[in-house]
Symmetry: C2
Subunit: 416 residues, 2 copies
Amino acid sequence: MGNNGNHGGNHGTERETGGGPAGGALAGIRILDLTRMLSGPFCTALLADAGAEVIKIEARGTGDDARHFAPRQGGEGTYFMLLNRGKRSVTLDLKSPRGRDIVRDLARGADVLVENFRPGAADRLGIGYDAMSALNPGLVYASISGFGQDGPMAGVAAYDIIAQAMSGLMSITGFPDGPPTRVGESMGDIIAGLYGAFGILAALQARAHSGRGQHVDVAMFDSMFSLLVTPLSQYLFTGEEPRRVGNRHPVSTPFDAYRAGDGLVIIAVANERLFARFAACIGHPGLEADGRFSSDERRTRNEPALRALIEEWTGARSVAEVVETLGREGIPSSPIWTVPEAANSAQVAARGLITRFHHPTAGEIPLVPQPVRFSGTPAAVRRPPPLLGEHTDAILAGLLGLDDAAIAALRDDGVI
Amino acid sequence: MGNNGNHGGNHGTERETGGGPAGGALAGIRILDLTRMLSGPFCTALLADAGAEVIKIEARGTGDDARHFAPRQGGEGTYFMLLNRGKRSVTLDLKSPRGRDIVRDLARGADVLVENFRPGAADRLGIGYDAMSALNPGLVYASISGFGQDGPMAGVAAYDIIAQAMSGLMSITGFPDGPPTRVGESMGDIIAGLYGAFGILAALQARAHSGRGQHVDVAMFDSMFSLLVTPLSQYLFTGEEPRRVGNRHPVSTPFDAYRAGDGLVIIAVANERLFARFAACIGHPGLEADGRFSSDERRTRNEPALRALIEEWTGARSVAEVVETLGREGIPSSPIWTVPEAANSAQVAARGLITRFHHPTAGEIPLVPQPVRFSGTPAAVRRPPPLLGEHTDAILAGLLGLDDAAIAALRDDGVI
């Protein structure tokens, strides 16, 4: 982490060695990245940070739609830049047979191909799993989609909000007297991207034994549904419908946001020992013996009465005072930070969660690397996000052995 | 997926081959699992589904606290059962020197160790990274914690709600006129568990080249903060504080839950071509030429006026009618499902997202496997969740070569 060097402007001098400085856990793994927008790019960014060489194929002319999202800096979408750090960009016209031939040629030399087209689209282009694995039986081919490659809804377009809505997550997020609530970031895409990285690495592990690649099929809906462990542990066994409980925990109390003098403060007391200590802190020693509050279940049943006692104490103090007082007793408590407060925290700085890079058109830019810390093979952002097609020539020359004349002909013919 | 066999009741006849039927991507990988509650068990469940052999070490007598959570079936917590499918259980007293010796002996023969103690606790027990990697330099040692193994907050206890609150996620989830909102599932734990699986597999990839393991340090806070791509792409570049926008998308419109005659319906129109088609659908052909609505940015600015037109149309129809009508035109739209509706859907059935197993005390139980589909090395739940200490004898005999007398002595002395 914390690679702060100036790495911009390699256009035209790129070598086929790729992947940047050695040392990442995935050094030597080459990934052909046919994804755009969020789920796929999030996946391949994790792999790039961990040392893989990622070659991003973009539509000639326009590139990844995310390049055009606001806000922009130096003509480049900031959302695109955060998601495409560490990758190289090759532009191709995938509608042209020669463009697709180049994808096939690159797939011959790749370890992994990742795509997030609508299911069936890659097959129609002649770059689906069957075609590619025939060319390169060792290829791990990962597909990320809304509802998967088969099943009744394969082929249905899914934006994040649809995966959140249909998985059940929206129905359990929010307050009992309010509507189902979308998580404020596109968790459906992001979780599917994370599962994509998991699936790809598991398939590489299998390949180390068998020599064979396989198709890794990740669906946003499946990914969201299967992580609802708490509500599924209720519904699947009792038949009771899980409901929205606001910021409370469904079965543990106190565990919520409480009113302090200057805002909301989080308090999470998860066991009996801590509750006794907490009760003493808020001026009610012995409350753990009160029949209304003597177990998690009873506290949950008598939540309003307990909340009144807690807020009598928190309401007379600032958030900072509450967090400090409870912290001294080892009782988990925290403020609710805004994104700026989190981004500017000592924790983010100490853990290297924001790094800076020089970008050829956007200048000095912040980037957010993947969060896992590897003691032996440090992860790092190894390149700034690429300009559109910045590495087309270098990769066609370096990996496919095309000479200047061949590359010029492809450009003249509108293939690259 | 979809392993529906009856696998219960192997107590006492377990063999050291472990891991169940062959075929998983991670077959041959042995994981020593010192985790409890959610983040760690979620991580090792993914690895077990993908074929790894997972040996779960539990506190003698009580076991993983999650065993005791309500609801229970056959004396076993349902939450525990969902999270601990596919693993074997060994009980040990980690406070006893001989108990810790057994952990060290098992770590000698493991590929991976995962723990989610408070940072520093494993070191104090003599089973921290330094001690274990000295015994087994190839060991991948993963630590999952609230704030990481170093930095200003290492050592601070974090429950999920604290990671959600401090990362900034709560501040951007919910409605502009409502409070910051916790996601209704413990995403902080789950995402850290997923990153743990990613980190472990990346470290195994590195080990294939170097022969050396390493320490993989995953923090809930870091994991949550670094996935806030959309708000960070705004704040880090413009300095503007991202705010709660309810179920809307921060920069795209229409993309929200709208009122239909019998409930809320999701509509997500992400580009100009779709908006023109959508406008015709709702009886306003040509609306895309109206200056108020002729770009995503303008539609976002004039959202209330556009919402009125949309709800005039959706309000006169049922959710099902809206979804069907828009679906015919390829416009993304969906109902908001409850957890029961999702669980009982044809999609969940077709994708094998719920599987059934026989459990020795709980009888027939539903389990939810990891969601990635591997064409060559299918993932599957290979064992039911273990009874407490179900495999202690088999593993001490099979992996450490202890004879019946030695095991009986350990039991008499309260070590196992």
